[in-house]
């Protein structure tokens, strides 16, 4: 990352400083973390656009942006967390937990939709806080701590749902007062014959806000700093614990947003919702140029990673390829995207010397 010079600027002296060397636009562009995923996305897009009829139609685009959007919202949050140097393996199952909570509050405990949504967000913030607090206090890898959260939530999802409803899903959300208005905000479609999903707008807004925070605010600098070297960051006065806990809370609350979206869309929530999706989010973030070691990455890249996953999912469907091979195709496409990404980054870093 490049940090903006701070403090009082010395009087301008026209002496060439090698740190301020003039770098060409092309080289600067190639050094962006998202350039690899952009290239990967373009290749995947072009491939399916040319080989299938439906992929390039507006309705087709609505299909794959729909798949990409809920993955994308989570990928952006997970990317921020990864830049901050941490993982959250409970991010996937959290979408199920929050969806179920909203469902149980409304269908079993008489809440109307909007208060239930507020409670759900508050609950997510609490779980995120607990995740972050445990990681900070125990100094255990977040991989382990959130794996524990993952299992706890997975078990709770099934156990609580079955104990209360007697089945494995919460249904009947469509009859709850406030469902209509909540749907209009979270899960409706727009642009009628093609039916684009509102979640796509949410995704774009969240990616834009995350990008602004990362590149234009002090909080963004802190995120890069704690992920790059937490000790160094602490020594220069960055509130490491607060930043990391805030990142965990952001991830959990984005999971709540996605859980609410899916719950409202399907008018029901299954107890197994979201299990295993956490890896899709992490993959999208990594394809988008986030380093597993932290301190590097971008929200736009993660969004492009999610877009690749969405395009591949629907593209494979349109192609009519034998679905026995689906995961193989998906794996190959993702591997190619990562390879392109890597190649570009190596070129770019080579150019730096």
């Amino acid at each position: 990352m490049t940090s903006a010079p701070t403090g009082a600027a010395p009087p301008a002296v026209p002496v060439a400083d090698e740190r301020l060397a003039n770098i060409g636009l092309w080289a600067r562009l190639m050094r962006r973390p998202e350039v690899g995923s952009l290239l990967g996305a373009l290749i995947v897009c072009a491939f399916f656009w040319v080989t299938t009829d439906a992929f390039g139609t507006l309705s087709g685009i609505a299909n794959w942006t729909d798949v990409a959007s809920t993955i994308g919202i989570m990928a952006v949050a997970v990317a921020l967390l990864m830049i901050g140097g941490e993982f959250d393996l409970s991010a996937g199952v959290m979408t199920g937990t929050t969806g179920l909570l909203m469902g149980l509050l409304t269908t079993e405990w008489g809440f109307s939709m909007w208060p239930a949504i507020v409670v759900t967000f508050a609950f997510a913030a609490l779980v995120g806080f607990i995740n972050g607090y445990m990681v900070i206090r125990t100094r255990l890898p977040s991989f382990i701590v959130t794996l524990a959260t993952f299992f706890v939530l997975q078990g709770a999802n099934l156990g609580v749902t079955k104990a209360i409803t007697g089945t494995v899903r919460v249904a009947g959300l469509a009859d709850v007062p406030g469902y209509e208005s909540a749907s209009k905000v979270f899960s409706d479609t727009f642009w009628s014959p093609h039916n684009f999903r509102l979640s796509v707008i949410w995704w774009i807004v969240i990616a834009a806000v995350a990008t602004w925070v990362l590149s234009r605010t002090r909080a963004g600098n802190w995120i890069f700093a704690v992920g790059g070297d937490a000790n160094a960051a602490r020594n220069v006065g960055v509130p490491v614990a607060r930043v990391k806990i805030a990142l965990f809370m952001t991830t959990a609350m984005c999971a709540a947003l996605v859980g609410i979206m899916i719950g409202l869309r399907l008018a029901s929530v299954q107890a197994g919702q979201g299990v295993g999706e956490e890896f899709t989010y992490i993959i999208a973030a990594v394809v988008g140029g986030c380093l597993l070691t932290g301190g590097y990455g971008s929200a736009i890249g993660a969004s492009l990673g999610a877009l690749i996953v969405g395009m591949a999912f629907i593209g494979i469907q349109f192609s009519g390829w034998n679905t026995d091979w689906r995961f193989l195709f998906l794996g190959v496409i993702l591997l190619l995207a990562v390879l392109v990404n890597n190649l570009v980054r190596q070129r770019a870093e080579g150019a730096r010397r």
Partner: protein
């Protein structure tokens, strides 16, 4: 220069991917590929009518032995009727299933056959399909909801009735405590089977949630430790053939003498029935659940026929026991039972 090499590499990768896709999609005899080359070789008058018909079959399966047979049924029907069948699975994720149905509507397919384990979740997507004039048939799960979903008919078996039949089998065999093994978290149909078994059995029934077909080893351990911790269990009912084999090994591992019955067949299960390790299998003949919807939808398109008369078309339950196992074995090994 560098950019040139980079661009070249990218182009090569795309070509590689394309070649790879062509190889995988084309070689496979299942005819799922969009090329439509397979039926063209026997392109006769009687086949041309269905030539540009595409049926989407969308299930909640995850590539296990059960759904492989249903898939084969759908593909065989596609070949015999001369129509293109696009089979896809959502791995029990209702959102993915809704999205797959949406994409089939976008493609303007001529018919959609879908399982409905969670009817609420796919209601909106199926509404879009009916609004677009695409006929629907539900299969496997959804016997109670197919009319509300706007489907012509449902092809499957009623879970509760099939469960009752299995429970009664154990009761007749003199068992007193039954363990019902559930292998998917979110499939309501499985719980209905266990509820049905409880009704038919009349005695003590306990449900056990296990990891599932993606992790057979853990599932085996879970069943085995349950049997070891409670030796009053003298009957085990599994709801999937892969799980049945795990349960057989678990019963042997726990030195239990519990009787084992299962839902659905595989080659291994039939062999185990012949060897007396499994008492019976409830057969819902899922080959028909893939095959018949494709036939019905094709007939609907070409001849405006509706099958079922407003009732579901039942494919089961039938029971496979030691008596008829030999016949079924040959067919199971060919992948159609």
């Amino acid at each position: 220069m560098r950019q040139l090499r980079l661009a070249l590499t990218a182009v090569l990768m795309v070509l590689g991917l394309a070649a790879f896709a062509a190889a995988c999609g084309g070689d496979d005899d299942s005819g799922g590929g969009g090329s439509g080359g397979t039926p063209a070789t026997s392109d006769d008058v009687n086949l041309t009518q269905g030539q540009d018909t595409t049926i989407a079959v969308i299930t909640h399966g995850e590539g296990d032995a059960f759904w492989a047979v249903a898939k084969k049924g759908a593909e065989d029907a596609g070949k015999q009727m001369g129509v293109t069948v696009k089979y896809s699975e959502s791995a029990n994720d209702p959102q993915k299933q809704a999205q797959l149905i949406d994409s089939a509507v976008t493609e303007k397919v001529d018919g959609i056959a879908t399982s409905a384990p969670n009817p609420d979740a796919i209601r909106d997507s199926l509404k879009k399909a009916t609004d677009a004039g695409i006929p629907i048939i539900t299969l496997n799960s959804g016997a109670e909801d197919y009319q509300a979903l706007g489907a012509i008919t449902h092809v499957g078996q009623t879970e509760t009735i099939a469960g009752e039949g299995a429970g009664k089998k154990f009761k007749d065999a003199g068992a007193t405590k039954l363990l019902c093994v559930i292998h998917e978290q979110s499939n309501i149909g499985l719980n209905q089977r266990c509820d049905g078994a409880k009704k038919g059995f009349g005695g003590d029934v306990e449900n056990l949630q296990v990891k599932g077909v993606n992790d057979i080893q853990t599932t085996l351990t879970e069943i085995q430790s349950k049997l070891q911790s409670d030796d009053s269990i003298d009957a085990v009912l599994t709801l999937n053939p892969d799980i049945a084999i795990a349960a057989r090994d678990a019963i042997q591992g726990a030195s239990s003498d519990a009787k084992l019955g299962t839902f659905d067949l595989s080659g291994d299960v039939v062999t185990a029935i012949q060897d007396g390790e499994i008492e019976f299998a409830v057969d819902q003949q899922q080959y028909l659940q893939g095959y018949l919807p494709v036939v019905f939808l094709t007939l609907y398109k070409s001849n405006a026929n509706t099958v079922g008369g407003g009732q579901p078309v039942l494919t089961g339950p039938g029971f496979v026991t030691k008596d008829n196992a030999a016949t079924v074995q040959k067919l199971a090994e060919a992948g159609t039972r």
